[in-house]
Subunit: 194 residues, 2 copies
């Protein structure tokens, strides 16, 4: 009979991150994670499909959060600004798990397969945001461009946030990153021969 | 003794794309590709490390081309405009292989693993462009943002180009895509509470 374990998910996550960091992701088994967490292997599989999902299960929650935040922005905003606000709204969610996010980032940076997984998750976030923009009447290519560019700004901001030592909140860095993007994009058409 | 085969690479590529399209990428073997091309399996491996490389070997060439094109743009340009021009310069290179590019796109769209591979290649292109910008004195985050946003615009443009039936050149679509990005980014700071 399954016994209720207090904060089993948190304990498994903590154990997994320590092992991934110390031994490497590839060298760590689910059995070792469960053992370090003082839990049974079957308990691990009640929470995570596999050892990779310890690092990626939150993406689906983040995606829902972003799409909801986008829906809550005024329809009068420019697409890029709406995306920027939605991404700022994700800040506090990730802020609450800063330590986890930092460790996770270091583990992913050390493993090519995990980097690919991260890219595909970011690409899905961009698709979900583009879909959200289309639902409020923004046509393509504007919808896809605003979403992809916004995710690019978010990616840069997220990297800076895990490197900075708590000087600014993630929301502040996301906003600065989107503003910087707007500045470097500048105004007016591109140079080149028409 | 290795016998010279006229256009062995082209024949292998053609055979591989037909098989990937008709049977699916996962179901196709190198032996089948070589057989359809009328060549020995060892000939295949003289040109490609594995069956996936048939679809991705050109990325390295494209990357060199983009970095070189970026170096050739005037240093006075804004980072985003320099990236835009470099990406436009890649147009004719891909244009010359339009049929291949279209088939390739359809095969990648049908396979999650290949999509991940494509994302990582695009991410590497962005890193190479960011590095090119840093070499000419553009600091981060501007360098990374301009490169990532540029690649986002390129990705959108590339998709449109393979869907459109030769109405515009890829360079024209890339340029329109970068301009659209500049328009949606707008000018001035983002809304939100400071």
């Amino acid at each position: 009979m399954a016994r209720w374990e207090p904060d089993a998910r948190g304990r498994l996550e903590h154990a997994a991150l320590e092992l991934y960091r110390d031994r490497g992701f590839d060298q760590t088994t689910v059995a070792e994670i469960a053992k370090r967490a003082g839990l049974a292997e079957r308990t691990f599989f009640r929470y995570f499909a596999d050892k990779r999902e310890v690092l990626f299960w939150e993406s689906a929650l983040l995606q829902d959060h972003l799409v909801k935040a986008l829906e809550d922005t005024p329809e009068s905003l420019l697409p890029m600004d709406a995306v920027g606000l939605a991404l700022q709204a994700a800040g506090p969610v990730l802020e609450a798990r800063r330590h986890f996010a930092e460790q996770r980032q270091a583990i992913i940076a050390a493993n090519a397969e995990l980097q690919e997984r991260e890219l595909i998750k970011l690409s899905k976030l961009a698709s979900a945001l583009a879909e959200g923009l289309r639902r409020r009447g923004v046509d393509d290519p504007a919808a896809t461009l605003a979403a992809e560019a916004g995710i690019a700004a978010f990616k840069v901001a997220f990297g800076r946030w895990t490197e900075e030592v708590g000087k600014r909140t993630l929301a502040e860095i996301v906003r600065a990153s989107v503003d910087e993007l707007k500045t470097i994009a500048g105004a007016g058409p591109s140079p080149g021969t028409r």
